[in-house]
């Protein structure tokens, strides 16, 4: 059990308006934190602060990671005009040995040559999730990972995350859909 993330009294403001303040938590390896809160309570911002995309206004954030963070946000980082296969190679996962397994599980193995804009929202999300599944990092940051996913895929995602936790990875996620993941809850509501 190593300490991966330690946040102390994090605060954030937009245009001098407080979004959240005095958020403190610790995340150990093999543990998950579920960030909860109403719309506009700053979940995405908090996750972005942990990724280092945004700077907190106050407070300290300590990261002890050996590898880079794997982040999945609202935006999928996929190119609409490229085929699935090209997108996978852009994500840098096209040579991964486990790729086929996940593709079959997501029923995407037959649409490798399809241009991405012809796929549905949920299917695009699944391709974005492949990057998470084939990650090479010890901290996963997932912002609403199961928006648009069907029941089966949600279950698959949960089982994957639980498996990752047993492998000693740390996970931070936000979700309005309840997921079957053993996690601590961090509530941003005042």
């Amino acid at each position: 059990m190593h300490l991966k993330v330690k946040a102390k009294n994090l605060s954030y403001k937009i245009n001098e308006k407080k979004l959240f303040h005095d958020i403190s938590f610790e995340l150990f390896s093999g543990k998950a934190i579920h960030v909860q809160g109403d719309n506009g309570s700053g979940k995405t911002t908090l996750l972005k602060i942990i990724c280092g995309l945004t700077n907190q206004v106050k407070g300290d954030l300590e990261l002890k990671l050996d590898k880079k963070i794997c982040f999945l946000g609202h935006k999928n980082a996929l190119k609409q005009y490229l085929t699935v296969e090209q997108n996978l190679s852009l994500l840098g996962v096209s040579d991964h040995q486990d790729l086929n397994k996940h593709l079959i599980e997501f029923a995407l193995n037959k649409s490798l040559d399809v241009t991405l804009s012809n796929l549905s929202f949920g299917q695009q999300k699944k391709i974005a999730l492949l990057r998470v599944f084939l990650n090479d990092s010890d901290l996963l940051v997932l912002d609403e990972p199961c928006v648009g996913l069907d029941q089966q895929s949600q279950k698959y995602l949960c089982s994957f995350i639980n498996n990752e936790l047993t492998l000693g990875k740390s996970i931070l996620f936000s979700s309005h859909i309840s997921l079957d993941i053993t996690s601590e809850v961090l509530n941003l509501n005042k």
Binding site: N15, E16, K17
Partner: protein, 243 residues
């Protein structure tokens, strides 16, 4: 330590109270100097040998064009301070100098082109100074529109100061290159550089009008920065007390 010092000293609150104290002195002294110098320049100085009485526009034109360039330099310094030390006040100043700079550049342009009618026979010449002043004017407006198009103030502040800094590096280059360009194209009849060296009697009121105009512009910047601070810090409790 320097950082702490600046942050304490340059808080918008201290600034606004200090500036309120100084404002009337600056305004009245500089207004007096300015009006006296203009009066002196208009009625007491001798007529120019070459240009006749139209040269009296110099007392209005030169201060404006000089100040319009200095204001950009001031903006660049303030932007650098913001980017290095994250002093909020300095970026408020950058944003509040920009419209004032645009106004002074506008004054310089208009007075220059009216001056051009009797002197050069035309109100617009592709002269180096005029072109670079026009570019300066557009850059001021560009800075304002860049800052206003972002709703997130912190973002807007960063972009504004980057652009002001890059622009300030470019202004001397633009000036030099435009001068270089116009030396080849321009017929000699309309250069203003070969006018006789200015007489000392004419120089005193010119200095006076420059100092006076600088003071007036300082007052304008103070007002504009007050407006900016009140807008941006309206959620702070001290602003409510102040208002």
């Amino acid at each position: 330590m320097i950082k702490n010092f600046i942050h304490q000293f340059a808080s918008p609150k201290t600034y606004i109270y200090q500036v309120d104290r100084l404002y009337p002195y600056i305004l009245y002294i500089s207004l007096t100097i300015y009006l006296i110098s203009i009066f002196w320049g208009l009625f007491l100085t001798p007529e120019d040998f070459v240009q006749g009485n139209s040269y009296r526009i110099i007392y209005l034109h030169v201060p404006a064009s000089f100040i319009s360039q200095s204001l950009f330099m001031a903006m660049a310094i303030a932007s650098a301070i913001y980017l290095i030390w994250k002093v909020k006040l300095s970026v408020y100043l950058v944003r509040s100098i920009a419209p004032i700079g645009a106004v002074t550049t506008f004054i310089a342009l208009i007075s220059g082109s009216i001056w051009g009618i009797p002197t050069w026979g035309t109100w617009w010449v592709w002269d180096a100074r005029i072109v670079s002043t026009l570019i300066l004017f557009i850059m001021y407006l560009g800075l304002i529109s860049l800052h206003d198009s972002f709703s997130n103030h912190e973002k807007a502040d960063k972009f504004l100061s980057i652009l002001a800094l890059v622009g300030s590096v470019n202004i001397p280059i633009i000036k030099m290159s435009v001068e270089w360009w116009s030396t080849l194209h321009q017929p000699a009849s309309i250069t203003i550089s070969n006018k006789p060296a200015i007489d000392l009697v004419m120089l005193y009121p010119l200095f006076g009008s420059m100092i006076g105009f600088a003071g007036i512009v300082t007052c304008l910047v103070i007002l504009s920065s007050k407006l900016q601070i009140l807008k941006r810090e309206r959620n702070k409790s001290w602003v409510k007390n102040y208002a």
